[in-house]
């Protein structure tokens, strides 16, 4: 007994801490809110001992267990809950909506009757309201009059509870009274027209009411046969939601069997307005027209059906909401032929009724299962049906398949819910679903973020994008493709008539080159009630996206069947005059098409050649209508003069020359120690140098000669000679007891190695060499390689020192870090990224675009080449939610997006090079990162070899610079995407490469004559200078050593930074920039007491006993001029704020 009592007491005691815990939980958000205005910082949780070790309740245990077992971690569960909270409608909003619905319903009930007139007679409408319908052909039979609706009902997502923010749409079905309609109205668009008239009548009546804000027409999913009326509430919250008024026939007014996909409801004679010589032509079936009318009959039945389903499954609404978010991020839930929220709930209903998911599952599981279903089921081949026991008049699935591309039959068994969807859209959906499943299963990917939080606009998703402008031209392709009956079925909407044909044509032509062909869903047009319905041609241009297959996309040859095979004629028919017979090396003779492209940048555009050729040939669409935006940005890294090239070929030349050098180094005989490794340590050797070094041949007469070595040196008074990049190569020497154990001695021995290597290379291969204590320059194939000998124990020697007590201590210092960076980390990074380039052919190009942009925006000094390369590598290694970029442009866009959207404050960017990191490593990195955030670099990049330090970003960027980068990147991305998508005018892509200079305090303008890289400038210079380069073949070896690594601009910058680094920041575009922008550091300009350690470039102000110093701006500005004598054209001080 006593024991029991004790237990009971225990229980009583347990309650208080529980409740206090809850109170704390309640308080947390309040606290968080309060801190919103202050700094938002993550502090590691500190739970008191009593909190951690108090005995658990059963409820708490089960909660913890569920979180552990159901989700990757409980974080995901919470994230989903928060997301659902964000998109759910608030109670206040619902009340608003309900009251507005009530007003509208009441208003609608009082619509006055009007006298009966002919349908084509529009005189009863006042001029202020137009009919939302394209009246082509003009005449129709039938009578029409206005009458109050038979009923007004809520349909769609709102009553079902699946309505989500943003763009809240509440659907209201207004039933047209039966006496307005006639059962035969199905034929020849009579019913759709009456419906449009009825809407116009409603609109006319509603205009007089003050309870309604704005009124616009739109049409349901872009179908012009199904106009709707959009009403918004008056006042300030007019944009918060809108009511969509549908006009519907009374339920069961038309017999569903009339809308069988094989039946005709539009007569040719009527449509063409020709008394077609009583031909025995049978009227073709009109499946799309049928389904659009049938769709109006069923919404109430659908709502009932879905309500029944959702009442059984508690998380149905949340599941639909998540699915809708997923669809919306992929731009799949709006427009013609979309996978709308309605379809999403139907899909979930299908999965529930077929018991693929159970009623007890959570929203997260619903989403996961439906994605899994979408990924594994092809509705273009095996359609699905919700109909349990369809009546005998219902069409079979096969009949649906013959009429529509995608089949998903509704519960009645008569309607195909996916009637307007193209096969391509479904394939896109399927692709997205399967990609999403992959990311979800990958423990190293933040599934929540990549699936539900990241938008995937077409511009950033597809490798190449092209647009069809001037959609009028599609009319002629209708003729060319002989699509009259389809045109009739789509009631004259030539765009949607042609689209499936164009898509299949392109699919056929591009074949293996692409993984996926997608197209934009034309958005629902909206227009005011006072204007006529917009014409089809006023639609925004159609965009198509290609996801390229990297290996095959750039192939110049399209090999067809052998000449004698029956398929040959098909091939010839497809390619027209481009197809020709060719004999191949394996002695087969086949049909083939050869596209002409020499360089990589031309090859990348072969899909464009194919597309324009096919569209011209088969669909009569002229080339001028096709706006191809695959490689517009690439211009800025174009080099060649005669043949356009984006530098892939030049990089390859450099790499080949390096390979040759490395082979020759290995074979050298007569070295005291053998070479153990030769590694490249320069961006050019991993294809990421913005402008790869070009082989050059110096013009000797342009230079002076150095006296002893006869090497070329720049001549005073001439323009600065062309810049020769030294390409860094690290040469590791064998370890041996002979190496001294002393830093200085190692340096001398290294010099001896440089001398010896130079001698041997000169003797064996006649390369001109120049040994220095730090490196050996080798002049080879018109390029300069800078070989540095490394000894693997040198860092260790540098680290060791003996302290006062005779204890040997090992300490890191800057010298060691610099050495390890140069001899270990950089070569490793170079070889790793070289490997990445082999996997992804456009990796290099993306890096180069990214670095060109960073340079142009004056950030190169802060985001170094290696950092930029790593950032780009992360795009390729962790593409979620995308696929790895397949063209430089899309890679660049994603680079800008990464820069602008990554949360550097709270997340490490993990670049899993060679996939060496496991999921456990990821958590470890994140934890150590969180634990010591304050002391780590602002931009934290972790790699397998560097999990905790982020050595590449240790020095730079600083917080301020990073913030600036983020802002500029976001702005550039917005501008660039807009320019690429907007076909209406010709844009200058280079705008994003021109930095805003008004933020800087001083501009130092340079003399272009002394800027050796002038030709690489963003805007090609107007004047060019002779820089001592001869055209013609480049010597393999020998010859005088050219001027190496002599760039006055970088020398000047170096001096400036060294002299004034603590007073100002200096920005310059390393690729031909002629302006150095200077930004004073505000801190340096606060007067400080005179100190011997802080007197540089300062002047004093004496006030009594106090001596303060401030920067001597006047003298500094003059120093800018003096130190850059000959290089500086002018120094422009733009702000007066510092010159007191």
């Amino acid at each position: 007994m006593k024991k029991k009592q004790a237990v009971a007491e225990d229980k009583v005691e347990m309650i208080p801490p529980e409740s206090s815990q809850e109170e704390q939980g309640g308080e947390a958000p309040v606290k968080a809110k309060r801190s919103k205005t202050e700094e938002v910082v993550y502090h590691p949780v500190k739970l008191s001992r009593s909190d951690l070790y108090r005995p658990p309740t059963a409820e708490e245990l089960s909660q913890l267990k569920e979180a552990e077992s159901l989700f990757h971690c409980s974080l995901l569960k919470m994230q989903m809950e928060e997301l659902l909270k964000e998109i759910a409608l608030s109670e206040r909003r619902k009340q608003h909506i309900d009251s507005f619905i009530q007003t509208v319903t009441n208003l609608l009930q009082t619509v006055p009757e009007s006298p009966e007139v002919e349908v084509s007679d529009l005189s009863w409408l006042s001029g202020a309201v137009k009919v939302p319908f394209l009246l082509v052909p003009k005449t129709t039979k039938g009578k029409f009059h206005m009458a109050p609706p038979a009923s007004v009902d809520l349909i769609g997502s709102y009553p079902l509870g699946t309505c989500t923010k943003p763009r809240i749409m509440v659907d209201l079905a207004v039933t047209i009274p039966a006496d307005v309609l006639h059962p035969k109205d199905v034929i020849n668009q009579r019913y759709p027209r009456k419906r449009a008239l009825y809407l116009a009548g409603l609109a006319q009546y509603l205009t007089s009411s003050s309870d309604i804000g704005t009124m616009r027409y739109s049409c349901l999913h872009g179908n012009r046969l199904r106009p709707v009326l959009l009403l918004t509430p008056p006042g300030k919250d007019s944009s918060s939601f809108s009511i969509r008024v549908h006009a519907c026939p009374p339920p069961g007014f038309f017999r569903p069997s009339r809308f069988h996909p094989q039946r005709n409801n539009i007569r040719i004679e009527w449509y063409t307005e020709l008394q077609a010589s009583k031909s025995e032509r049978i009227d073709p079936p009109t499946p799309h027209y049928n389904s659009s009318v049938l769709g109006d009959l069923l919404p109430r039945a659908h709502l009932q059906f879905l309500c029944a389903i959702s009442s059984q499954c508690s998380s149905f609404a949340n599941g639909v909401a998540l699915l809708k978010v997923w669809l919306r991020q992929r731009e799949l839930e709006q427009g013609t032929g979309c996978f709308s929220g309605f379809l999403a709930s139907m899909l979930l209903a299908y999965l529930l009724t077929t018991h693929r998911i159970s009623n007890t599952m959570t929203a997260y599981q619903l989403l996961r299962n439906s994605l899994n279903f979408l990924a594994s089921t092809d509705l273009t081949v095996n359609g699905i049906s919700l109909a349990r026991d369809p009546d005998f008049t219902a069409p079979s699935l096969a009949e649906f398949h013959s009429a529509f591309q995608v089949v998903f039959v509704d519960p009645s068994g008569h309607l195909n819910l996916c009637a307007d969807m193209t096969a391509c859209t479904y394939k896109q959906l399927q692709h997205e679903a399967s990609v999403s499943m992959q990311f979800w299963d990958n423990p190293t990917v933040d599934g929540f973020h990549s699936l539900l939080m990241t938008p995937k606009p077409m511009m950033r998703t597809s490798d190449h994008v092209f647009q069809l402008c001037e959609l009028v031209k599609l009319q002629s392709s209708c003729k060319k493709l002989n699509l009259l009956s389809e045109l009739m079925d789509h009631s004259g909407n030539y765009i949607h008539t042609v689209l499936p044909f164009i898509l299949s044509l392109l699919q056929q032509g591009l074949g293996q080159r692409i993984r996926l062909l997608t197209h934009s869903l034309s958005p629902d047009p909206e227009w005011s009630v006072e204007s006529d319905a917009p014409k089809h041609r006023d639609q925004p241009p159609l965009s198509f996206g290609l996801l390229l297959e990297p290996e095959l996309a750039a192939s110049v040859l399209e090999r067809g069947p052998p000449a004698d095979s029956p398929k040959a004629s098909e091939f010839r028919q497809l390619w027209g005059s481009r197809s020709e017979l060719r004999r191949f090396q394996d002695s087969t003779i086949t049909e083939a098409v050869v596209w002409d492209a020499k360089t990589m940048c031309q090859k990348r555009l072969i899909p464009r050649q194919i597309i324009t050729h096919l569209l011209q040939l088969h669909a009569d669409i002229p080339e001028s209508c096709v706006r191809y935006v695959g490689s517009m940005v690439d211009d800025v890294i174009k080099t060649g003069n005669e043949v356009h090239s984006t530098g892939e070929e030049e990089s390859l030349l450099v790499v080949q020359s390096y390979d040759d050098l490395s082979r020759k180094l290995w074979r050298l005989e007569g070295l005291p120690l053998s070479i153990t490794a030769v590694q490249g340590a320069h961006p050019a050797l991993r294809y990421t140098q913005v402008f790869p070094p070009l082989p050059m041949k110096p013009d000797y007469s342009f230079f002076d000669r150095e006296k002893t070595t006869r090497s070329l040196v720049p001549k005073e008074g001439k323009p600065c000679p062309a810049y020769v990049t030294p390409i860094k190569v690290i040469c590791h020497m064998e370890g041996s007891g002979k190496w001294p154990h002393n830093a200085l001695a190692i340096r001398h021995i290294r010099t001896a190695f440089h001398i010896r290597l130079g001698e041997l290379l000169k003797k064996n291969h006649n390369y001109t060499c120049r040994p220095c204590p730090t490196h050996l320059d080798v002049w080879k194939d018109g390029l300069v390689f800078r070989i540095q000998v490394a000894y693997h124990r040198e860092p260790q020697v540098l680290r060791e020192s003996v302290n006062a007590e005779g204890l040997l201590v090992v300490r890191d210092n800057e010298e060691v870090q610099a050495l390890e960076m140069a001899t270990i980390h950089k070569p490793l990074l170079t070889s790793t990224l070289h490997g990445l380039q082999q996997q992804h052919p456009c990796f290099g190009a993306v890096c180069r675009l990214a670095k060109r942009w960073l340079g142009a925006q004056l950030f190169s000094e802060h985001i170094t080449e290696d950092t930029a390369d790593l950032l780009v590598a992360s795009l390729f290694l962790h593409p979620a939610p995308f696929t790895p970029p397949g063209s430089p442009q899309v890679g660049f866009l994603r680079f800008l997006h990464l820069l602008s959207s990554f949360d550097w404050r709270n997340n490490p960017l993990i670049v899993n090079l060679n996939s060496q990191l496991t999921a456990a490593d990821y958590t470890e990195i994140k934890n150590t990162f969180m634990g010591s955030r304050e002391s780590l670099p602002v931009m934290f990049i972790a790699t397998p070899k560097d999990k905790t330090l982020s050595m590449w970003t240790k020095q730079a960027p600083t917080v301020q610079i990073l913030q600036r980068v983020v802002v500029v990147a976001a702005e550039c991305l917005k501008l660039l995407e807009h320019q690429l998508m907007d076909s209406s005018q010709i844009h200058d892509i280079r705008v994003i490469m021109r930095p805003p200079l008004d933020a800087y305090d001083v501009l130092i303008h340079l003399n272009p004559k002394q800027v050796p890289l002038l030709s690489q400038a963003v805007d090609p210079p107007t004047v060019t200078f002779s820089r001592g380069v001869m055209t013609g073949g480049v010597g393999k070896s020998g010859g005088a050593l050219p001027v190496i690594d002599y760039n006055p601009v970088s020398l000047y910058l170096e001096e400036l930074r060294e002299a004034f680094g603590d007073l100002a920041l200096f920005f310059c575009d390393p690729y031909g920039g002629t302006v150095i922008a200077v930004l004073w550091k505000p801190k340096a300009f606060i007067p400080v007491p005179f100190k011997t350690s802080q007197a540089s470039a300062r002047s004093i102000e004496v006030t009594g006993e106090e001596v303060n110093t401030v920067p001597n701006v006047k003298a500094i500005l003059e120093d800018f001029q003096i130190m850059g004598e000959g290089l500086v054209k002018s120094v422009e001080a733009r702000t007066e704020k510092w010159s007191f």
Partner: protein, 282 residues
């Protein structure tokens, strides 16, 4: 230029509270702006080193980057003949001694603002410099002694960076010779020390700090650490973790505490994200 004449005409030298005299300096005769040099006699208690005799050394602050040692020497020879000039990037004791290095192996000179130690032949020059009036500027670049800056200087530097390979080899050889010699001497010294510890004729051994063979104190930091860790491991191995019931219960408790902690952490992360509006999908 007639500095002596001007000196008479002008007012007093400008001396600021720190004891420094302010001299002004301009690059060329027609420069508009001037830098301020701060000079003072070199006075350091601790240092009695060779290079900077206390009475004859002038300490100069804020020497602009285009003033090399030669230029400074010339500038200050108007106060008396200069024995040597030493430029440093920050004030401090003179360089540690070591083997003499050729210019190719020395660290590159700093190109920023420097401090200078100017050693005059006589101590009178120091006071002459200190009493130099403020409004008579020193001029760096005159027609007689032009100072090269900018492109001219860079071309000159580039040209001077060349060295004949055999000359470089000589430098290396001579350094290594010296190094080997030093090393040999060192080895010799050690050998002698070891010899001292041998038995002498009478069988006595001079005992000094540990010798070969004896278990010596670990002399590197890493070894110290290793021994410490070894001890720890030993201790740990001896412990039994799952022996008593309370130990078992404790591990369970730890597990729940872990879960709780993670849960709390997640909750906090969420709260943070919510504040940052990170859940708005669009």
């Amino acid at each position: 230029m007639a500095p002596s004449k001007k000196k008479h005409a002008s007012s007093k030298p400008c001396i600021i509270p720190g004891g420094f005299t302010v001299l002004s300096l301009q690059f060329s005769p027609d420069s508009a702006a001037q830098h301020q040099l701060f000079v003072k006699e070199h006075k350091v208690r601790a240092e009695k080193s060779s290079g900077r005799p206390l009475d004859r050394t002038l300490f100069v602050l804020n020497v602009p980057p285009y003033c090399s040692e030669a230029v400074v020497k010339k500038l200050f020879s108007q106060f008396g003949s200069v024995q040597s000039v030493e430029l440093r990037d920050h004030p401090g004791s003179s360089k540690e001694s070591g083997p003499k290095l050729s210019k190719f192996f020395r660290a590159a000179d700093k190109k920023g603002f420097n401090v200078g130690y100017i050693v005059f032949q006589s101590s009178a020059s120091v006071s002459a410099a200190k009493s130099h009036p403020h409004d008579v500027p020193l001029v760096v670049c005159t027609e007689l002694h032009p100072v090269r800056t900018g492109v001219q200087k860079w071309i000159q530097e580039y040209t001077q960076s060349f060295v004949q390979p055999d000359k470089l080899q000589q430098i290396v050889d001579s350094f290594m010779e010296g190094y080997d010699k030093r090393k040999e001497e060192e080895a010799e010294r050690q050998r002698k020390e070891a010899e001292q510890q041998q038995e002498d004729e009478e069988g006595w051994v001079k005992v000094t700090r540990g010798h070969k063979g004896a278990k010596a104190r670990p002399h590197t930091e890493a070894a110290n650490q290793r021994t410490l860790q070894k001890e720890m491991r030993k201790k740990k191995r001896k412990e039994l973790m799952n022996f008593y019931t309370w130990q078992h219960r404790n591990t369970q408790k730890e597990h729940i505490a872990d879960l709780r902690k993670k849960f709390e952490e997640d909750k906090q992360k969420i709260a943070l994200l919510r504040v940052q509006r990170k859940f708005r999908p669009y």
